[in-house]
């Protein structure tokens, strides 16, 4: 496949940035999108041009690093996948592909396609944990009975990889899907009950401080989420926050 790429180039956070247009040739449809980007970078290096900076790590859909906004959609046109799992067969020979970084006030561009997602880390630090004392005799985890339905829903919420596609795709740059997944994975389990009220209040507060937008329930996030996190989690967080605000 021969493709035209419109790639966002930006030297640093201060730089204005702009699109640059490149051609790549003989791309195999079996390549992943990141492998195609590797081909582009090899080519740029050979030409003496700075290679395009993008985040990636596992290249198997579990780390969440590979943030790219491709043709107007987070992680491109495929559903339920990250950019590293997106295959070039989803595109056609001769296509022009636009590649941009995640765009959000709370995710400043570091360079080219790489953004700073540490706002998510600060939200987790504000309450996305359970306090556990690991000294002495630990009780058997299986000794606490948990309803299968709740265990499954908690597990589903916990599959969020913190990629930020929900923020990138939301017209409001809202982080509600991420935060609600992280609230839900504890809210559904007995271990999470102790700190439940403080957790949701502190995490939402941090989310607001970071400058994410507000949810208008468009549902775009759950469509683009590579892990299929449902907006049912957002409803649960809304319940948890209401409960915490009324009782506190």
């Amino acid at each position: 496949m021969n493709l035209t790429l419109k790639v966002w180039r930006q030297k640093n956070a201060q730089d204005q940035g702009s699109f640059a247009t490149y051609q790549v040739r003989d791309i195999s449809p079996d390549m992943s999108f990141l492998e195609m980007m590797d081909v582009l970078n090899e080519q740029l290096i050979a030409q003496g041009v700075e290679s395009v900076v993008f985040d990636h790590d596992c290249r198997e859909g579990i780390c969440g690093m590979c943030s790219m906004f491709i043709n107007g959609e987070a992680h491109g046109p495929d559903r339920g996948v990250t950019t590293c799992q997106l295959h070039m067969r989803k595109f056609n020979d001769g296509d022009t592909i636009t590649i941009e970084p995640w765009r959000a006030q709370a995710f400043p561009v570091v360079r080219d396609l790489m953004v700073d997602r540490s706002a998510f880390d600060r939200i987790i630090q504000a309450g996305g944990y359970v306090s556990v004392n690991t000294m002495g005799n630990l009780p058997d985890a299986n000794a606490t009975p948990i309803e299968k339905h709740d265990a499954d829903a908690a597990f589903d919420a916990a599959t969020c990889i913190g990629c930020g596609a929900c923020v990138a795709t939301c017209k409001n740059a809202s982080a509600m899907l991420f935060v609600s997944a992280k609230v839900s994975q504890f809210a559904l389990l007995p271990q999470g009950q102790v700190e439940a009220a403080d957790r949701v209040r502190n995490m939402v507060h941090q989310m607001d401080l970071e400058g994410f937008g507000n949810c208008t329930n468009t549902g775009a996030c759950e469509v683009e989420c590579p892990k299929g996190i449902s907006i049912e989690n957002i409803a649960r967080m809304n319940r948890e926050y209401l409960k915490a605000s009324i009782t506190a």
Binding site: E100, R103, A104, K171, V204, H205, G211, E232, L242
Partner: protein, 224 residues
């Protein structure tokens, strides 16, 4: 800081108020529509009697103040939230395919809301202001003759056109907003949420459609 975490100020709290005031405005729409139907199915005197009742019966007067407050709160919070949303993405995407993953109404709530607000202002100037502060004649029963100025307004093509367009906008606002309010309050359930969604969409079409048909009826019908 503390207040930011409570029922005022935080993003979620503001959304609760949006949802609650929105739902309250929805109940008001039903009452308002029932009154308007008097234009089609009743006499001018019936309509005037209804208007007189709505502006004088004390419990309804109290509810009407709640209503004005709800409109102000809903609009002010809606605009404030929408401004924050714009600020949350200062640099726009070069290519953004919003239609790929979300409905049109859900992506244009602020625009639809602001148009509705504009309509409410014009509407209140035309009828509410005249009813309360204007110099209306009296009908056969001694009630203020709101019917005559209402039908006179609807006889004007531009007024009816504006009215119909506004109802389409409100219809889209509620197409998404009805179920959205339940989601915001956390009132979701695997069985009931699809029902709420269906009822909301049916409500948007039927109620806003009925509102829009009344001025069209007046415009087209030779009898009124």
């Amino acid at each position: 800081m503390a207040s930011k975490r409570g029922l005022f100020g935080s993003s979620l709290a503001r959304k609760y108020w949006m949802a609650l005031t929105g739902l309250f405005l929805i109940t008001f729409l039903v009452v308002h529509l029932l009154g308007n139907l008097a234009i089609v199915f009743g006499t001018g005197e019936d309509f005037n009697a209804y208007a007189a009742f709505m502006t004088s019966f004390p419990p309804i007067k109290i509810v009407s103040y709640l209503l004005y407050a709800s409109i102000v709160l809903h609009a002010a919070d809606g605009i404030a939230l929408a401004r924050q949303n714009r600020a949350a993405r200062p640099v726009a995407y070069g290519t953004y395919n919003g239609a790929a993953n979300a409905g049109w109404a859900s992506r244009n709530m602020a625009l639809l809301g602001i148009f509705t607000l504009l309509f409410i202002l014009v509407h209140m100037k035309s009828f509410w202001f005249e009813m309360h502060f204007g110099t209306l004649g009296l009908d056969a029963n001694g009630n203020k003759d709101l019917f005559t100025i209402t039908t006179a307004a609807f006889e004007q093509v531009w007024y009816t056109a504006f009215y119909v367009i506004a109802m389409v906008a409100l219809g889209f606002h509620l197409w998404h907003g009805f179920q959205s309010a339940f989601q915001t309050m956390g009132w979701t359930h695997p069985t009931y949420t699809p029902i709420v969604q269906f009822v909301g969409r049916a409500f948007a079409v039927v109620v806003c459609g009925a509102f829009a048909l009344i001025p069209l009826y007046v415009l087209i019908s030779p009898n009124v």
